[in-house]
């Protein structure tokens, strides 16, 4: 089983809560979490609905392995229609609340409508209530977290909340749980705010049981943990360096997008890398990194727990930022650092703290600031906009200020909260926006890594590395090495990664396990936990079904094959200016038709009837 088989439906307009059985037929076809919740969403909402209107729904969902001893089995996802992209949004987070919701007895919570006034959902096992949140509105995630804990007098309540940025309409607002883990991408926090839902607070004491075959499950999860422990990335690299282990690697291969992706290598990478986080500071002798912290059930523990130098200009006289909190992961370090040309580790850490404190995606935020810096250098934005602050690339002050503004929606924060695409359009330079389908790029340059360009272009939620992490193969050689500068074979590679990832995202496990695990490692764990027959082949089929279902939703929402594209800067206008990829652009046009073909889609990128039939869509 592993599922609790219970869904909580929360009608925010009515203020009513209702329990319903999980659709097990769908569970058999879509497994859980990303797949299953997306199935619910596409069945229940009009794809053309206003993402920030009451007709959109937001689903918080766990997977069948969430809350079990399977390594990394603590994930949950938020599935909704994105206000940033207008496409499907599925943002995945770790931390502890996923287990807590499941332990309280719920596989997923479906939010619909819009509350007339601010509320938060309190789940204590079967006892689910909507409670007033008027006093929480206008508060940061961290403040709301503290207020809810104090109110319920229970330190073990786990909380996911939105911050002020979401309330102010920032289009890339995140839902932050456990203070510094986030369902970060695609503006899922903005949707939550549009529903007047401030937080979800959960306390589960029922636990997760119903393991179909416990003996097999312990055997499979034990073997899985062993594989993770013995793998160089999950056993050594991630625990000691975090995802930041990639900073120097990616910079060396010339795929480190720099200064709004005008360049592909960052001269300051060494100052904001994992290694730099280990270096004792001059001021207090302590390194930026205090320790690594794990999400629920994770035997890798890539999370960074960091402090900022108390003497740094960003936190002088602000003791509230002197303690430990979530430190820089690679994507954040890149977006806040390299993409803005900022090599000040403390400033990046500060901006990262603020992203967590007020709930917004550091990737989209950093990229948007990078776009603003380019607009500033082009004269489209002036000091009048920036409160007199020099917004040139490399300005740590600009980065810190930008974060403070986006946190509260004050000053230029409203414009920065639009995201790169809308900001650049507003200031007359749409070509400066480094986005796909309106979502900002992550930290791998498609000029130096061809396959990831195709993955970005075709990602169902806009530019994203987590829909098909071909970096594993193209850079790290997992499961086998492919040439990052080669386009041949990348269509098949991207499809394989996308389908497998969709399956992994539906289990309750973390996609970072796939540095070491393949579906052959994961399927036995799912199979032992769940009823039914879960082979690697079936999981791959489920993954492909999910991918096509998402694609169908996007098509119905009004997107077309024309949206499967990359900014011209990357395909034509600006070749890589240094490193192994010097002179290269991304050859998306060579890969895309082949991709549609291997997907079984028409040359316009629409799934054919035959493909739909094969997948039972």
């Amino acid at each position: 089983m592993a599922w609790t088989r219970k869904v909580l439906r929360v009608n925010l307009t009515e203020g009513s809560l209702q329990e319903e059985p999980l659709n097990m037929e769908w569970a058999n076809d879509y497994l859980g979490q990303r797949g299953l919740a997306t199935k619910y969403l596409v069945e229940e909402i009009d794809p053309k609905c206003d993402a920030l209107g009451p007709d959109n729904k937001m689903i918080m969902t766990t997977g069948p392995l969430t809350g079990t001893m399977a390594a990394t089995g603590g994930r949950y996802s938020v599935v909704t229609k994105s206000p940033l992209t207008g496409a499907i949004a599925c943002s995945n987070s770790g931390g502890f609340i996923g287990n807590e919701i499941k332990s309280a007895g719920w596989d997923m919570v479906i939010f619909e409508g819009k509350s007339p006034s601010p509320v938060y959902l309190y789940l204590e096992d079967d006892n689910a209530q909507l409670l007033p949140a008027d006093d929480l509105w206008g508060k940061s995630v961290w403040e709301a977290d503290e207020l809810i804990h104090t109110k319920h007098q229970d330190p073990l309540i786990r909380i996911a909340a939105i911050g002020r940025s979401a309330e102010q309409g920032c289009l890339y607002a995140a839902i932050v749980n456990d203070l510094h883990r986030a369902a970060g991408r695609s503006g899922v926090g903005t949707v939550m705010a549009s529903k007047n839902l401030k937080a979800v607070a959960a306390r589960g004491t029922k636990g997760v049981g119903n393991i179909e075959n416990p003996a097999e499950f312990f055997k499979a999860t034990q073997e899985g943990k062993k594989v993770l422990a013995e793998n160089a990335v999950t056993g050594e690299g991630l625990p000691s360096m975090g995802t930041q282990v990639l900073m120097n690697v990616i910079n060396e291969v010339g795929a480190m997008p720099t200064r709004n992706m005008r360049e592909v290598q960052f001269e300051g990478a060494g100052k904001i890398s994992a290694e730099a986080m280990h270096e004792p500071r001059d001021n207090d002798g302590k390194p930026n990194l205090t320790t690594n912290g794990a999400c629920f059930g994770c035997t890798i523990a890539c999370g960074r727990i960091s402090t900022i130098d108390q003497g740094h200009f960003t936190v002088e006289n602000k003791p509230q930022y002197w303690g430990n909190s979530g430190g820089l992961e690679y994507e954040a370090a890149w977006a806040l650092g390299s993409d803005c040309g900022v090599d000040d580790l403390d400033a990046c850490t500060y901006a990262n703290f603020l992203c967590n404190e007020d709930g917004y995606d550091p990737i989209s935020f950093g990229s948007t600031v990078a776009a603003a810096m380019e607009l500033y250098e082009a004269g489209a934005i002036t000091k009048e906009h920036t409160d007199g602050i020099d917004f040139s690339f490399g300005s740590a002050e600009a980065l810190a200020k930008a974060a403070e503004w986006v946190s509260t929606g004050e000053g230029f924060g409203k414009d920065l909260g639009l995201g790169s695409k809308r900001l650049c359009e507003k200031y007359g330079h749409p070509e400066f926006s480094m986005t796909v389908k309106g979502q900002e790029f992550p930290a791998y340059d498609p000029r130096g890594i061809q396959g990831i360009g195709l993955a970005y272009a075709t990602s169902n939620r806009g530019a994203c590395h987590l829909r098909g992490y071909t970096i594993a193969s193209e850079i790290l050689g997992i499961p086998e090495k492919t040439d990052p500068l080669e386009t041949e074979g990348k269509a098949e590679l991207v499809k394989a990664f996308q389908d497998a990832t969709a399956a992994v995202d539906s289990t309750g496990l973390c996609v970072f396990t796939t540095f070491a695990w393949t579906l052959e490692d994961i399927a036995p764990q799912v199979n032992a936990a769940c009823e039914g027959d879960w082979s690697a082949d079936k999981m791959l089929e489920v993954g492909e079904r999910i991918w096509n279902m998402e694609r169908d939703f996007n098509m119905a929402a009004g997107l077309t094959g024309k949206d499967d594209t990359l900014p011209k800067r990357l395909t034509k206008d600006m070749a890589a200016n240094s490193g192994p990829a010097e002179g290269k652009v991304n050859n998306l046009a060579e890969m895309l038709p082949k991709y549609y073909e291997v997907r079984g889609w028409t040359p316009d990128g629409v799934p054919t009837d035959e493909t739909r039939q094969r997948l039972g869509l």
């Binding site: 004491t205 997760v208 049981g209 625990p239 320790t291 690594n292 912290g293």
Partner: protein
């Protein structure tokens, strides 16, 4: 030679595998709310501290029990709650100065670490060896005990 749980918090990442292993062994479900070992998080300081019963020789819980429901397992040295005898009076829960014996409002008896009969699941589940099961005269354990018991009056000894 008796063995004991040795906890080295500096190695802990806060993943709660120990809590899941413990609760599955004791309750048959993954349920951190019912774990006998708890990981305490010091967020500001960036620290995780697993903690459970040290099977202290004073055995405050055992001495306070009015119905002899807490007994020593002679093989492991663990102080074990006999569910059938425990009446649920909770005196042990207030007597234990370490806060490591708790009352279960559903079963209406108290529960504590029993070293899983000599093969503690938490130690086996810990991915970073922050929890190990070692010979009792291990130096680190002595230090931990000394810390745990500092300032407590040494009654009856």
């Amino acid at each position: 030679m008796l063995r004991s749980l040795q906890i080295e918090p500096e190695k802990c990442t806060g993943c709660l595998q120990c809590e899941m292993a413990c609760s599955y062994h004791a309750e048959g479900v993954f349920n951190t709310a019912k774990s006998r070992i708890k990981v305490f998080t010091f967020h500001e300081e960036g620290r995780f501290v697993p903690y459970t019963c040290t099977q202290c020789s004073e055995a405050w819980c055992m001495h306070a029990c009015p119905v002899e429901a807490i007994v020593i397992n002679e093989t492991t040295g663990a102080k074990e709650v006999i569910d059938d005898i425990c009446v649920g009076c909770k005196v042990c829960t207030i007597a234990c100065p370490f806060g490591t014996i708790n009352y279960n409002t559903e079963t209406k008896v108290t529960y504590k670490c029993d070293l899983c009969g000599g093969d503690p699941e938490c130690a086996k589940a810990c991915p970073t060896q922050a929890i190990t099961y070692v010979d009792s005269d291990h130096g680190g354990l002595e230090r931990m005990r000394a810390h745990a018991a500092q300032n407590l009056p040494q009654e009856g000894a």
